[in-house]
Each structure stands twice: as C-alpha cells, then as structure tokens.
C-alpha cells in the first residue's frame, strides 16, 4: 500500500473509531513515515482545539470587556 495522503491522515484523526478506515489505520501502524505523520496530525488537532477554545472564551467575554468602565492609567 502506498503512503497515506494528507486527506487520509486527517480522516484517521477526525474519525478515530470509523471501521471503514481500518485498512488505513493498519497501514499507518506499520509504516514509519505514516505513523509519524499521524502523530503530528493528532498533535495538530490538539493545538487547533486549544485555538478554538481561546476563540470561544474571548467571544464569551467580548461584551463584558466592552461594558467595562474605563480604568484610568
């Protein structure tokens, strides 16, 4: 089997329990290059989740920030 494409790697990360991807998963486990790419992609997914959390938190306090009385410097 040829090395996995970026799209296939992303599918493995976003649909970890999908039985339809079992063949791809087995390949990633046995191929050093693909295994490394998969680990990187999982790590990327964690960072993206943090960025989304940051986005949500900043959005949640946006109104509060706007309503803050001005503090004198």
């Amino acid at each position: 089997m040829r090395c996995l494409t970026d799209q296939q790697i992303e599918a493995l990360v976003s649909r970890p329990g999908d039985p339809a991807l079992e063949g791809l998963r087995r390949h990633a486990e046995s191929c050093g290059t693909c295994r490394e790419k998969l680990e990187d992609a999982r790590s990327d997914a964690g960072l993206i989740a943090e960025i989304r959390e940051l986005s949500e938190l900043r959005e949640a306090v946006k109104l509060l920030v706007e309503k803050m009385p001005p503090s004198a410097g």
């Binding site: 970026d6 799209q7 992303e10 990327d44 960072l47 993206i48 943090e50 960025i51 989304r52 959390e53 940051l54 986005s55 938190l57 900043r58 949640a60 306090v61 946006k62 509060l64 920030v65 309503k67 803050m68 009385p69 503090s71 004198a72 410097g73």
Partner: protein, 197 residues
C-alpha cells in the same frame, strides 16, 4: 518579536502620560483576566470589578517600582494580584490574611470550592493568552492568503474544497498552509515560553 513588544509596553507604563501603553496593556490582559475570573465562578459584575482592581493595582505597584522583571515573571506578578483579588471577592464578609509573598491565605479559612482551582485555572488562562499572542505574531508575519487558508480550513472548519475554491488554490496547498502555519505557531509558542522563563 512580541516579547520585545511586552518590554516596550511595560516601559511605556512607567510614564503616566503614556495613555496608549496603558490602553494596549489593558486590551491585552483584560479579556484573559475576565475569562479567568468567570472560570472560577465570579458573576459578571464581580469579575469586572476584580479585573479593573487587578490592573490598577498592577499599574500602581509597577510605577512604585515593585515589579522587577529580572526577579519574577509578569505571569507570576499579575497572577498573584489577580488571585488575591479573586480570593478576597470569593471570601466577602470573611477575613483574609496574606502570607509573606502576598499571595496566600491565612490558615484555618474555609475555602470556597472554586478557590482550590485558582492556580490551575490561571495557568490555563495564561497558556491561552500566550497562544493568543502567538497567533497575533503568526498573523502579522504570514502571507495573508496562507494565513486565511489556515484560518478557514483549520479553525473555521470549512471543507478543503470550499477553501481552495474561495482562495483560488489547489486543495493540496490548503493542507500545506495548515501544516506550515501550525509548525510555525509551535515555534513561536516555544519562543514565547522560553522568553518568559
């Protein structure tokens, strides 16, 4: 890079006439501190009061020469003030004493449940703040199309074909943009973390 900006910002705070330095400091840390205050259970009004009080106290102490960057990180100093203000707010009506470092409670005071998580909550908020600053650096230094491809695909979750079509790129370029941006973001985060130490 950004740490240099932080240094400039802090230097600017010394001068009471430098309103733009105060505004930038306020804009940078207010959302993070508000998020922290809300995370540990303060209502909106108390969170706003605590944050204003924290920033003003920091400024007063900074101008009085009590913050020495060589002896402690901004995180520790600002976090210490914020945690103290929050403890005091959560303990309204109860006496609060400080230990020698100015950041702890006296013995025997029953703690509200949320207070136990103050350190961890602040650490988490600070990490997100660092991420926010790293994203700001990344956006500033990146090719706009590459950053937009990353933003739409990775952060806004647009399908790759839609991003490619919208930005007139090949789908593979969208994947590459995401990968490059995340790699660079990691480097910036590492750099910012090292600068804080």
């Amino acid at each position: 890079m950004l740490s240099r900006t932080t240094t400039t910002l802090l230097e600017g705070l010394v001068d009471p006439r430098n309103e733009s330095a105060w505004r930038r400091f306020y804009d940078r840390y207010t959302p993070m501190l508000l998020s922290f205050a809300k995370r540990v259970g303060l209502n909106d009004a108390d969170a706003q009061d605590v944050v204003s009080d924290t920033l003003v106290t920091f400024l007063q102490q900074y101008r009085a020469g009590r913050y020495d960057r060589a002896r402690g990180r901004l995180k520790s100093w600002l976090g210490g003030i914020a945690r103290h203000k929050i403890r005091r707010c959560l303990s309204k009506g109860r006496p609060v004493s400080l230990n020698a470092s100015g950041s702890g409670d006296g013995p025997g005071l029953p703690e509200p449940a949320a207070v136990c998580d103050l350190d961890a909550a602040f650490e988490h908020e600070w990490q997100l703040q660092r991420l926010s600053e790293a994203l700001e650096v990344l956006r500033g230094e990146s090719d706009p199309t590459t950053y937009q491809a990353f933003d739409l695909y990775a952060l806004k979750n647009w399908p790759v074909d839609k991003v490619a079509s919208f930005l007139e790129l090949k789908p593979n370029s969208v994947y590459i943009s995401k990968s490059r941006m995340l790699k660079r973001l990691r480097h910036i985060l590492e750099w910012l973390t090292a600068e804080e130490e």
